[in-house]
Amino acid sequence: MVEIRLHGRGGQGVVTSAELIAVAAIKQGSFAQAFPSFGPERRGAPVQAFARIDNKKIRTREKIYHPDVILVLDPTLPKIIKVTDGLKETGIAILNSHLSENEVRIFLGNYWGKLALVDATKIAIEELGLPITNTTMLGAFIKATGLIEVTYVEEALKERFGRLAEKNIKALYRALEETKIFNSGV
């Protein structure tokens, strides 16, 4: 089973991102689960959402303490919270950032595990006209983990955004293209 923790801020569509991962995974025939962190976070406050993907029925209601994947939608978050907290040794950190690999590794408090980076904010502004990166980062997620076929994510976006899906899908494919993966530096 793969456990995913998403990081963002209230109002940035973090929960939607987690939901889309689960919807797409289920379309693909996998088992999946997605849930927000149940808290009264307000717009702007750091917030988390979670997803699980497996090839058999998922029978756990626990929170996620040791994720395999962390997906960080907001580049400034690592300054406030330790986004890599509890991340498995074999895990991968996927960040929206325009910084270089080394700058990010230091920014994450000397993180030497597997890393995937994409400037999702730039893509989102260019494709959607808004710095909302929740759909763009799905492209980074697929590239970095290969857990879901992109066509299922595309389908999920169409269902969810209807007319507005087009721009989100473009951003998705750009992120798929532009995400760079760096194996553990150690």
């Binding site: 209230g10 109002g11 009264p40 976070e41 307000r42 717009r43 702007g44 406050a45």
Partner: protein, 339 residues
């Protein structure tokens, strides 16, 4: 004129009390227009105040254990009973003073902060009871026009046409189909000594009204227009602008009802730009020159909750706003205070 107000002098930007009963570090959204009037009210009421909150945004953002933003005694019991809890506190203070269990010297303000859901809907009966019994307390309804804490569900304070998650703008039904409940009408029918509407875009006016309410003996009520960028879909920096437009388009007129006598507050701009006139602005009594009424569309277009409205619906809203303002003007003429 109310005896308690005979030497009441209004506030201005220079003579504001230092004290803040509300502390920073609260969890309200960026640009919250509901916590702003709360902060201003507590600044006026001062340390000798006991606050009661109903369940709602302001209670949640101010009291996530172990943190509290309340620098004064504060109690939150349930969603609908803030007015009754306040009645109990007021009765306790009265009898304990009489029995010399607490000092008679200072007056202790008792203030309720409750949202529109807590006041217009679930707590209306409790409010009516407390007003009717004549308890000496201030009830401040911070009205952000929907159940914001639970995620923007419709309340009876939600305006006509507005999108909320339970009055969505659908293909067939375009947003909220009812008109905002006239709570002031209901409150005034209780013949309480003081009721007023207030708006954070006019902070001095708001603070003056809270001060008056605290001076007046008996139940007083302030209906505060409280913008919510998250719920209304406007930019957080526009909270004040949206609030100002609500007054300038007469969607939310500012007025006071003192012993049943209506006074419409006519304000010049919200804050005159040139500092020279600050003094003049400070003088509370109103200028005759009123900001000309703006079309309601200017107010509506800044908010995503109204974006789906058809020109036809906007016309209906404009007509209703004009009618209601006319009615208010007549009330002021007929029941107004002789200047």
């Amino acid at each position: 004129m109310r005896p308690e107000l005979k030497d009441f002098k209004g506030f201005n930007l220079k003579n504001l009390p230092e004290f803040d009963g509300f502390a920073p570090g609260h969890r309200a959204c960026q640009g919250c227009g509901t916590v702003l009037p709360l902060k201003l009210a507590l600044k006026v009421l001062g340390p000798n105040t006991i606050a009661v909150s109903a369940t709602g945004c302001m209670e949640i953002i101010s009291s996530p254990f172990p943190y509290t933003s309340w620098r004064i005694p504060w109690i939150h019991v349930a969603f609908e009973n803030a007015a009754s809890v306040a009645s109990g506190i007021e009765a306790a203070i009265k009898v304990m003073k009489r029995k010399n269990k607490i000092s008679k010297k200072e007056k202790i303000n008792i203030v309720v902060f409750a949202g529109d859901g807590a006041t217009f809907d679930i707590g209306l009966q409790f409010l009516s009871g407390a007003l009717e019994r004549g308890h000496d307390f201030i009830y401040i309804c911070l009205d952000n026009e929907a159940y914001m804490n639970t995620g923007v569900q419709r309340s009876s304070a939600t305006p006509f046409g507005a999108h909320t998650t339970t009055s969505p703008s659908g293909k067939v039904i375009k947003g909220n189909i009812t008109w905002k409940k006239n709570l002031m009408g209901i409150v005034i029918a209780h013949n309480i000594p003081y009721a007023a509407t207030a708006n954070p875009a006019y902070p001095i006016d708001l603070m003056n009204k809270v001060k008056k309410a605290s001076l007046i003996e008996g139940p007083t009520f302030i209906h505060v227009f409280s913008p919510c960028p998250t719920g209304w879909g406007c930019k957080s920096e526009d909270s004040i602008l949206v609030a100002k437009l609500a007054v300038e388009t007469r969607v939310f007129p500012l007025y006071e009802v003192i012993d049943g006598k209506y006074v419409i507050n006519k304000l010049i701009g919200h804050i005159p730009v040139d500092p020279g006139s600050l003094g003049k602005y400070g003088k509370y009594v109103l200028e005759k020159k009123v900001t000309p009424q703006k079309p309601v569309e200017e107010y509506l277009k800044l908010q995503r909750r109204f974006r789906h409205l058809t020109p036809e619906q906007i016309k209906i809203i404009q007509k209703r706003v004009d009618e209601e303002y006319e009615r208010l003007v007549k009330l002021a003429e007929y029941f107004g205070i002789e200047e």
